[in-house]
């Protein structure tokens, strides 16, 4: 089927909001090239389970398209239109299953050396849309805090190397009550400035308490979902499913398959948890990977104004292998390795925060838990310097405006 043949009934199986978006924009969808429409429908079909910021992005794409004259639309879509697609791609039921189309398209683009062209087309299109309809600025300056090193008593690893030139390194932080202070301050910030899905706490272990006002994702609390994902993977392998088939099956996992129920915000959160664990690589086994990936996905998708990411010791590679064999173990932990993972994870978290609107006003704090080292990257502090003044967590949080 070609995009020009799209009709309202084709979207009958879409969730309610998604169906409405598709039908409302049917005329536009009919005029877009085959190399683009299924990808846009991939966003539309998930509309009901998307965060507000993601919905705004989908809405912006349609609003932009609607506002253009037909020749300008064709011009914007020209790079997608020039992609050479194989005939079997058009045979995929890309309205009902845009994910399958997307996977096949990806394989086709790699095979035919069109990946770079596609990437250019996508980046140019999104930049054009953002330039015409700028994403809204954050409700308040963003703050991200990374707490790392839990369980490490002593380390010679040179922390924060990738970010030192960008901020102030504090070497005399009073760690007393540090985590409690951070949680209390983040919670207070969330309660004072309620923003839907705007304040998050990600923990690589099991937090003692769930701080009010923060959307909390804790590695251990997600064990049932992780187990279900790993169990499904193992079952697919036993059945002889290939890599692509396994990936497709995992991408189709729904919260309902795992007994997770809820509507509205709860539904959105449940979908997010499932995609986090079914689409991420390594998150099923390593808590450090989970925290880094979850922080990345929260920033990319929910675009929060507050993020607290706390890393915890992860299992060793040997324990991961034991997990593959079907036995979970938590006793064989590598806190020092987790510190190294987390240090890189902190850098990636900063990079991801800087990709969002309001980057020039956003602040970032990394603290070596229970130790005296921290780094602040913020408009309010100098870059590439070390501060030897005694400071506590409350004062550090003041510096980042949290």
């Amino acid at each position: 089927m070609q995009p020009s043949e799209l009709a309202p009934e084709h979207f009958a199986t879409y969730p309610p909001l998604a169906r409405q978006v598709a039908v409302d924009n049917l005329e536009i969808l009919r005029q877009l090239p085959m190399g683009f429409v299924p990808l846009l429908l991939g966003e539309v079909i998930a509309y009901d389970s998307k965060f507000p910021a993601e919905r705004q992005e989908v809405d912006a794409q349609f609003a932009f398209m609607k506002a253009q004259r037909p020749e300008r639309r064709r011009e914007v879509m020209a790079r997608f239109d020039r992609l050479t697609l194989s005939r079997d791609l058009a045979e995929v039921d890309w309205v009902k299953n845009p994910t399958e189309f997307s996977e096949r398209l990806s394989a086709h683009l790699w095979t035919t050396s069109q990946v770079a062209d596609f990437r250019t087309a996508a980046v140019e299109f999104l930049n054009t849309v953002r330039s015409a309809i700028p994403p809204p600025p954050p409700a308040m300056p963003r703050v991200s805090i990374v707490v790392l090193g839990q369980g490490v008593t002593k380390s010679s690893y040179p922390l924060f190397r990738k970010l030192r030139a960008r901020g102030t390194y504090f070497s005399r932080v009073d760690p007393a009550g540090g985590l409690r202070i951070v949680l209390r301050r983040m919670s207070a910030r969330a309660e004072q400035h309620p923003v839907p899905f705007g304040h998050w706490y990600i923990d690589g272990g099991s937090p003692n308490a769930v701080p009010p006002g923060l959307q909390t994702l804790a590695y251990r609390q997600l064990d049932p979902i992780r187990d279900a994902v790993v169990s499904k993977l193992r079952g697919l392998l036993m059945a002889g499913a290939g890599t692509e088939a396994r990936r497709s099956a995992l991408m189709q996992m729904r919260p309902e398959d795992l007994g997770l129920k809820g509507e509205g915000d709860e539904r959105v959160l449940n979908y997010f948890k499932v995609t986090l664990l079914s689409e991420g690589s390594g998150v099923q086994f390593f808590s450090t990977t989970f925290v880094q990936w979850a922080a990345r996905e929260v920033l990319r998708r929910a675009q929060p104004v507050t993020l607290l990411a706390r890393f915890a010791p992860r299992v060793t590679e040997r324990s991961m292998n034991a997990s593959l064999m079907g036995s979970r173990t938590t006793s064989d932990l590598d806190a020092e390795g987790a510190l190294v993972d987390a240090d890189m994870g902190a850098y990636y978290t900063w990079l991801n925060q800087m990709r969002l609107t309001g980057a020039d006003r956003s602040s970032f704090l990394i603290w070596f838990e229970d130790h005296a080292e921290a780094l602040v990257v913020a408009p309010s502090v100098a870059s590439g310097v070390e501060s030897t003044q005694a400071i506590d967590l409350n004062q550090l949080l003041d510096r980042v405006g949290a």
Partner: protein, 381 residues
Amino acid sequence: MEDLGKVAAAVSRSRREFLREATGACLGTALLGSRLRAQPGTRPRKAVVVTFGGGARDDETFMPEGRQNIPNLVGELLPRGTFFTRVVNRGILGHYVANASLATGAYETLNNFIASPPEHPTVFEYFRKELKRPASDAWVIAPSIGFERIGESQHAAYGPGLGANVVLPKRLLASAVPAGAQADYQALLHDNYESPLYRPEAGSTDLELERLTGVLKVSVSDFLANARNLESPDELSVFLARRVMQQFAPSLLWITLHDIDIAHAGTFSLYVDAIRRTDRLCAEIWKLIQSSPEYAGRTSLFVLPDFGRDSDETPGGNGFQHHRTGDARSRTTWMLAMGPDIRENVVIDRPIDSMDLVPTLGSYFGFSPQFAQGKPVGELF
């Protein structure tokens, strides 16, 4: 591809500056004469190709902050060889398809996750057919089951009976491990980091055990005892490469290391550990060559990653974890060549293509890889 060219050039510059500082290497030019033509060896040449496993980025290797991870490459090997700072892979960035492409000298388009033979003739087939070499003279040590067909193409003019022997260490181990003891060897049986739950099947146990005991002359008990002391699958590969070298002394040996691909698990520390291990294993392989009467003085070693990994700056990726974006960082790598015919302590800055390896081996051995897409690297010999 303009972006690719610019970034590749910048990456190349950073490598060259780092190398000059680290080793005092000089910049080579194509005007220097060919040692290969001027000084033909008296004994038949041999070559060992090592892929610096599973995609490693400059950031963790040849950039200043990565230097600590490759002390053997920088301190021991680079001063003895010619280093190419800019090797560009323009193909599909999956490990099997990329390694198959390296081995054919032509960008293959096969499914990365299915063990299918390459479309174009492999270097092993050119080598054996044109030089009339026996099967025992070309071997591949491959990291995962998906690589089992890499030794022989489906090309009509070559193909069956002309390829290399392919050793799959994990399959051998899976066959040798007694029932119920697999957990003890699980760290070595982990087959494919892009699909963490994939484990090698033993295949035909009798056949595999025959390869182990009958062909490689390793008793099952010795094999298991050695395996138990090994840290990683790549160490198992080098252990078996050593056996192949001792047993058959093949003139063309291809070792694909793969531990670095643990990066897909997202754990930076394990990724860096694997780079350090690979660096050490490369030095061990070189020492093995130098200490073996069959290899010393007539063997060239080629070390190159199959490709890189995604840049930290590319929003569509997740940095070191994957190689999915096809950005310039993930396509731009390096190659080190060492041996009696190869100039020492030289850095070559002009861009070469990953597909140039097979034609270069053709020049070295004296065969014509007519279906390869690359060109011989003139500055090397």
